[in-house]
């Protein structure tokens, strides 16, 4: 028995139309979608989602925003494709009086302050930083004070660059001898696996691999297995999925995984939507960044039985 929402009679509820823009077609956004839609349903309102997926392309994002704004949706939740290039799109919604709720990524600070009514932030710098700190701990425990690191990146997306920045900063701070010897693209798992294998071939002295996204993480630990370096190379990964949690549970290769729960972000985003519908701005909402160690993997698997991150 939820509290009746404002301004709607229980009998024939006015339909609320929400525009939802998912950054690209990664599973993470499946989690967000489930989170936001689940929360909307639980709220008891009559909500219709108009959703789109511009595949990380700002030009498509701009088209979609245009469509959403001109069709007069009640609110828009968005993971912006670019800090600077998405400003025009978000401004357009703002000018039309439609509240915009960023999640995961957003536009630059100035524009966020001006045009965005809430930002469910999963700060990518902090995201990388927490994992970097975990890596420092792990290497220190293993008495490696100048680790050689390989990176599997997803740097066609700006957010990944920031993740790396955070990770790198934390490692250089904790272990100034750290050296990043290789950095290759491997956002999708099918590409990440061979690229990681080749990286280990070209740099046999690597001590650790950093996966900036889910696919990259899988590529990294699979390559370590193939190269028979289990126990010699540590993998630090991003984004939990059933597969990654299962691997983490073993604890021999994958040492820690940093994650912002898509479901969690979705719930927070919905909360921000509800607030903004009442006309309140909530500025930034910190989405919890969680660091998982092997010991916590099993728990994740039980609480996420349906596989949605």
């Amino acid at each position: 028995s939820s509290t009746p929402s404002t301004g709607t009679s229980t009998g024939s509820q006015k339909q609320i139309r929400i525009g939802a823009i998912y950054l690209d077609s990664q599973g993470y956004y499946g989690g967000v979608k489930a989170g936001v839609q689940g929360a909307a349903k639980a709220s008891g309102m009559n909500v219709k989602f108009i959703e789109t997926n511009p595949g990380g392309d700002v030009s498509k994002e701009s088209d979609f925003m245009n469509t959403l704004v001109s069709s007069g949706v009640d609110a828009i939740i968005i993971s912006a494709a670019s800090a600077d290039s998405s400003v025009a799109a978000i401004k357009q919604a703002f000018n039309a009086g439609i509240p915009v709720i960023c999640y995961n990524t957003c536009v630059n600070d100035a524009a966020t302050k001006k045009y965005v009514s809430a930002y469910v932030i999963g700060d990518p710098l902090k995201f990388g930083q927490q994992l970097g700190e975990a890596a420092v701990k792990e290497f220190t425990a293993a008495k490696i004070d100048a680790p050689k690191m390989g990176v599997l990146n997803c740097e066609q997306y700006e957010v990944c660059k920031l993740r790396f920045q955070g990770f790198k900063d934390a490692m250089m701070k904790g272990l100034p001898g750290t050296e990043f010897v290789a950095n290759q693209e491997g956002a999708e798992v099918d590409k990440a696996v061979p690229v990681a294998e080749q990286m280990l071939t070209a740099n046999p002295d690597i001590n650790g691999l950093y996966g900036e996204a889910g696919g990259a993480t899988i590529g990294a630990y699979k390559a370590v297995g193939t190269a028979n370096k289990v126990g010699k190379i540590f993998v630090f990964g991003s984004d939990m999925t059933t597969e990654i949690a299962t691997e983490l549970n073993k604890g021999d290769v994958l040492k820690s995984v940093v994650d912002i729960s898509g479901l969690g972000v979705g719930k927070l985003a919905w909360a921000a939507v509800e607030k903004s519908l009442k006309g309140t701005k909530s500025a930034t909402v910190q989405a919890p960044i969680t660091l998982y160690s092997p010991a916590e993997a099993a728990n994740w698997l039980t609480t996420h039985a349906d596989g949605l991150p």
């Binding site: 219709k48 989602f49 789109t52 997926n53 595949g55 469509t67 069709s71 670019s82 066609q156």
Partner: protein, 322 residues
Amino acid sequence: MTRLSSNTTLVNVVGLLGAIILLYVYLSSSATGFLNLSNQLGLLRQAALVGVAATGMTLVIIAGEIDVSVGPAVALSSVIVAESVHNWGLPTIVAIIVTIIFAVTWGAVAGALRARFRVPSFIATLGLWSILRGIGQFWTNAIPVPLPDSDPIMNVLAGSIFGVPTPAWGMIIIFLVIAFVARRTSYGRSVFAIGGNAAAARLAGINVARVRIILFATMGLLAAISGIFLAARLGSGNAGAADGLEFDVIAAVVIGGTAMSGGRGSLIGTFLGVIFITLIGNGLVLLGVNSFLQNVIRGAIIVAAVLLNVTLSRRRSSQSED
């Protein structure tokens, strides 16, 4: 004159018009906000990105060729214009000219590969597709290159003239120009002649190689124009933008009744094709269809439209087997 394949074109144009009207009727009743003026103007703006390139692509396909490099060409053009202003400090108008020169040059190179060295255009432009995308991303590190906020030319390009979005004006003018070129100039008729029978065109003294080079250089020019509009609209140059644009452009052209085998096609058909697929895209979003499912529907519609075209035009022409 040139009641070019008048029967097929007519059937196709009427069919598309019918489909567009049906879409309008359906969407106005089921998709909230569809008939809003702002949505209609937005539609035009979206149509422009596909439409500008589709004009040139119509000629390319009529000539029996294909260009699959449109998306990366548009993206790189947006990067060039932004870099010219942002990093090289060129005045906007010079930046625009520089962008056009670059794009026309790479288009002409692709054309020369086809015309002089007989590299199939599918391969030449597939290579270009990879090269242009790579150059843009490498150059900018995949980070958007901002344009100054207050640039008056860019503001006009991003805005509206007489209430209609500037890119839509651009698209309409380009359609009129290319339609005129196609029907009323030697160059345009040469394109049809080459697509219909390249050997005969050569024997008649038409400079086939030159026409082919111009075709692809024109594609470069149009990509530059689209790229500049895009940069103006986004306020930045983006190496990753216009992803998969070639899919929509080719789809619009073939839905518009231009034959992949060359020799037949019309700009009016392409125009309707552009409107049709823009409407479908817009409608699917407004109806709240799952975004992955939208891919399925769009794929099915292009196949169905071409299937219909082929079947109708086959009924009317002689049964030439191949």
